[in-house]
Amino acid sequence: MKRLVAVFLSILIILSVFVGCSNDNDKKEGNTSPSDDNAKKEDNVTLTYLTLGGDWENMLPDIIEQYEKENENVQVKLEAYPFDQLFEVIEVKMGSGTKDFDVLAVDAPLVAAYTYRGYLEPLDEYFSEDDKDVLIPSSIEAGTVDGKFMAAPMNTSSQLMFYNKTLLKEAGVSLPSEDPEKRMTWEEVVEASQTVMEELDPDGSNGIWGLMFEQVSRPYQILALPNSLGGAGVGDDGITVDGIVNSPEWVEACKFYYDIFNTWKISPKGTKPSESQQRFTSGKVAFYVGGTWGTPVYEETENLEYGYAPHPYFKDGKAATPTGSWHFGVNSESDHKKEAAEFVRYMSTGKGNDLWIEANHDLPSKKPLLEAIMEDEAYDTFPESSYKIAAYEAMNTAVPRPITSGYREWETIIGATLEDIRNGEDPETALNDAVEQLDSALAKYKK
């Protein structure tokens, strides 16, 4: 009898393990479809949209709600991740061929990589020529690989140099012009930054800084430095980096990047991109290079008197500005490709896009919206005129990020290298090390 009880007990324990597991699964499924009742109706489709977290999580639900109102048989569920994790999540999930989600956020330079890996469903079938005609050519180009339209743009982007009027006035520095023809050189920005710091914070106790980059050490923003001197990101074959990222132009640009943190000490070390904006809004930064999406935040910040000017350039170079932004892709493994593509169309060329641009203040990739910015008088006055400068940059000075199947690797290694240079590593050595690592990481694409 005792033995029987023991056997019975042990079987119970084993069972409990598996029952425990399956219970968990049930719960998870319960969580993934909040509108269970609706899902039971026939023809009902729930799309999962994998995207960036943060502010987006507050802005996207309203637009999605609008879409659901117009398409009663479709529900869209948002699955958001922070910037630093999003790319890894996509690799892990897509690498396993998951059907967990249908629509994903694709950073413009990664369209080629995702296509190469077979993550994306071509959208040509779902986007008519008329649909595409609404979009600006550079955004279509960024979403097209080997003639196939793989990812539809959400918006494009540009960078401005914001400045703190109060600090500049107090230090007796003249305010920069909004005219792109009269944009400041980096050399002038450094000089003005030094003046501000010397005048207002000689012993460093006030925590005032001359210059900050919003996306510090991220290639998206810092590439504008080598670009301004004529340096490219990769060779024409999309794989060669030797002689490109360790070229004299890169070394010179990175020497400047080194100097602002280490020699002139006009920019702080140790801050992360997520902390940058707060530094500017707290009124402690004289010049702040950042995206147009910051304007509504600065408008709402009390006691911040700010202005903006076009992106600076090197005296010996030409104006070059960051561009490109997020696109939408459809998971090639999705069971609801048609519905997913319809949603993407709404968000990219349809009404959803208008709502999105209104909410997030990005630079639009839809021609009518961009034309409105260029021609409408409403965009002549502060602070709307910031979009006019951005639109000008997008059309005249924008340099896209390198086009390569290995952009993920490129971005990771160049990002780490920029951070090393910021922390005091010799620029030339750091860039040569980066070439060595990149050669090894990109070798797989040479086959």
Binding site: I13, V17, G118, P268, G270, E419, N423, E425
Partner: protein, 284 residues
């Protein structure tokens, strides 16, 4: 016969889970390290080519060096401090439980949260640690942004969290030592220091062996503070093998390289733990 089955039935659930979540992945890693995994699930057998590639790879050697350097310091520091603290809180004084609880607080904070908080405190410009050092006239230190100070900073952060955790195991071991032995020693005229080295530590060997081995494994596999705080920088000074393997898999999409690194790390753990087990074998 039935009698034989019952004990196995009891350990079966644990074994099943271990096999699924530990043993099976180990085999995946070892086998995966022999393949060149292309995109879309394509695989090609390449033998030991991944390993040969690693041995020529400067970044791999740098990561291995950092991993060893980190462990050579962090493990002895953590264990020595844990033992010291365990001996202190083993004293029977009034309110000792309050001390034990306070010391244990860092354990209750997740590594991620601890890393973020320490990252803010160690900020070179506005961090509280530099303000504190300033009181004593010490100039601001770069901490995590300096090639020389980043690894020591991470050792300090992980120890802040690790020491109290291991202290608890040692304290449990200490309390298992019968009081009568100490009394006998006292009667024989043994002083405090001698008691520690001649009685406490030898009798603590089992707990100590567990702590040494577990701590070593934990730290050989640790990468979250590097991932959160330094991304392996500055200049790869905190780029441990585990983090490089992680980057290989999820940033460089090079599973072959990641698997072979993990396999090497596994071998390293086997060697180190094997040596520790032999050295710390209790003789009672």
């Amino acid at each position: 016969m039935k009698k034989r089955i019952v004990p196995y039935m009891f350990i079966l659930p644990a074994m099943v889970l271990l096999i699924i979540f530990k043993i099976y992945p180990i085999f995946i890693a070892i086998i995966g390290s022999l393949f060149d995994s292309g995109f879309g699930g394509s695989k090609a057998f390449v033998g030991i080519a991944n390993y040969l590639r690693l041995f020529k790879d400067g970044v791999f050697w740098q990561s291995l060096k950092v991993t060893l350097l980190f462990n050579i310091f962090v493990n002895p520091i953590q264990i020595a401090l844990a033992l010291f603290m365990a001996l202190l809180v083993n004293e029977q004084v009034k309110g000792i439980n309050i001390f034990r609880s306070v010391y244990y607080v860092p354990v209750a904070i997740s590594m991620t949260v601890a890393a973020v908080i320490w990252g803010i405190m160690l900020n070179p410009n506005s961090g509280i640690v530099n303000s504190f050092l300033g009181i004593f006239g010490i100039s601001p230190q770069p901490f995590l942004t300096s090639q020389r100070q980043a690894l020591p900073s991470i050792i300090a952060i992980t120890s802040w969290k690790g020491v109290p955790y291991w202290m608890m195991f040692l304290l449990a071991g200490l309390q298992g030592i019968p009081k009568s032995i100490y009394e006998a020693a006292k009667i024989d005229g043994c002083n405090k220091l001698n008691t520690i080295f001649k009685i406490t530590i030898p009798l603590l060997k089992r707990s100590l062996a567990f702590v040494v081995i577990s701590d070593t494994i934990t730290n050989l596999l640790l990468f979250s503070p590097m991932y959160i705080l330094t991304n392996g920088g500055p200049n790869m000074s905190t780029n441990v093998l585990m983090y490089e393997a992680y980057k290989s898999a999820f940033s460089y999409m090079d599973m072959g390289r990641a698997y072979s690194m993990i396999t090497i790390l596994l071998i390293l753990i086997f060697i180190v733990v094997g040596m520790q087990t032999r050295l710390l074998k209790a003789d009672y």
